[in-house]
Symmetry: C2
Subunit: 207 residues, 2 copies
């Protein structure tokens, strides 16, 4: 299938997981993998894995399994994770600083190319190759660089205003850490990471 088939959101999440499992197989120089083995590693049922993969075409070999390198390649080109994607960060407080100094993003396909804060001077002591700018430079920066994704780690009170500014400057995807439901146009996607809700969920099922 060369046409761009609509892949369900949940499948996209799982494809990311599969890709990470494949990384480890590649590291171990494993050449082929069956849906059974890969599914176990990814924590899903084999039939689901196979169904997910049909969105990318048919390229498994019956009786043998999938070629690890090819599968990896297919998933990553579908997900667009072949190239390093630029991201901006807004809010360099406790959490933002941790994100800034995190080396893992590069390995996972992302690069925070700049950070912004209402009080950048307070943040200057943090040594880092990534520049931290004042918020008044946000518009110009987003205009000159073609960034589509942003992470916001500002206090809840400021989050909606920051979203509005990001949206007005063309940001299309936002990862939000503030524990607040943010309003945004339908063509701008906001993914929320709410640690308290995750903990609450654990607490409920634990008893």
């Amino acid at each position: 299938m060369t046409s761009r088939l609509k892949i369900p959101r949940k499948s996209i999440y799982r494809l990311s997981v599969y890709s990470r499992c494949l990384n480890r197989l590649l590291d171990n120089h494993v050449e082929t993998v069956s849906s059974d083995t890969l599914a176990k590693a990814a924590g899903v049922k084999p039939a689901q894995l196979r169904k997910d993969l049909t969105y990318l075409g048919n390229f498994g070999r019956r009786g043998l399994g999938y070629n690890v390198a090819e599968l990896w390649q297919r998933i990553n080109s579908t997900m667009g994770t072949n190239r390093l994607l630029p991201v901006v960060l807004v809010g360099v407080g406790n959490l933002g600083s941790a994100l800034l100094s995190y080396q893992g993003f590069a390995k996972e396909g992302f690069e925070i190319i700049a950070a912004f804060d209402a009080e950048p001077e307070r943040r200057r002591h943090r040594q880092s190759a990534i520049p931290i700018y004042d918020m008044n430079r946000l518009g110009a920066f987003l205009k000159s660089h073609k960034v589509k994704l942003a992470i916001i780690a500002v206090p809840a009170e400021a989050a909606q205003e920051v979203v509005n500014r990001l949206v007005s400057h063309g940001i299309q995807g936002i990862l939000n850490f503030s524990p607040l439901l943010l309003q945004s146009p339908t063509d701008v996607m906001v993914n929320n990471v709410n640690l308290a809700i995750e903990l609450e969920n654990l607490a409920y099922f634990v008893r």
Copy 2:
């Protein structure tokens, strides 16, 4: 319904969201709210909100809506978020430090009562009311305090080993930040927070 009905996982997540919306209504001294209004605030359809609430019993008033205080009370007692829940943190690096200094958890019903790190002395300079212990004190601590939940923010290489230790000392719910799928007994619940996967997801749907 007084019997403990099984509430679906997705409903539990949404109940957490509703609870947060209700907090704001309480702050504003709003007394009643309709499913329509609350659903809009929570970003769901009214029918879904009502269906979710039926797991808690019937206590809306037709023609009027729900009493905000009562609804809040019912959700929170179902979720067990009336009392402050103790949590331990393992790994006080960049991310763990941010979590430790986060004041927001208390407001959301959780309290990090202790942190553990393989190199606690490196972490001592961080001033905080929360003690940071060496890993060899983990077992004794978990035995004396009755903690069921843990957050792990250690490097990926160490994550599985930490899970094993936590599980062996009776931890039943784990919030995992390492970008790795961890093995655990079926009666121990692990929720993963994987920022790279969230970003990848955004990136895909943004283009």
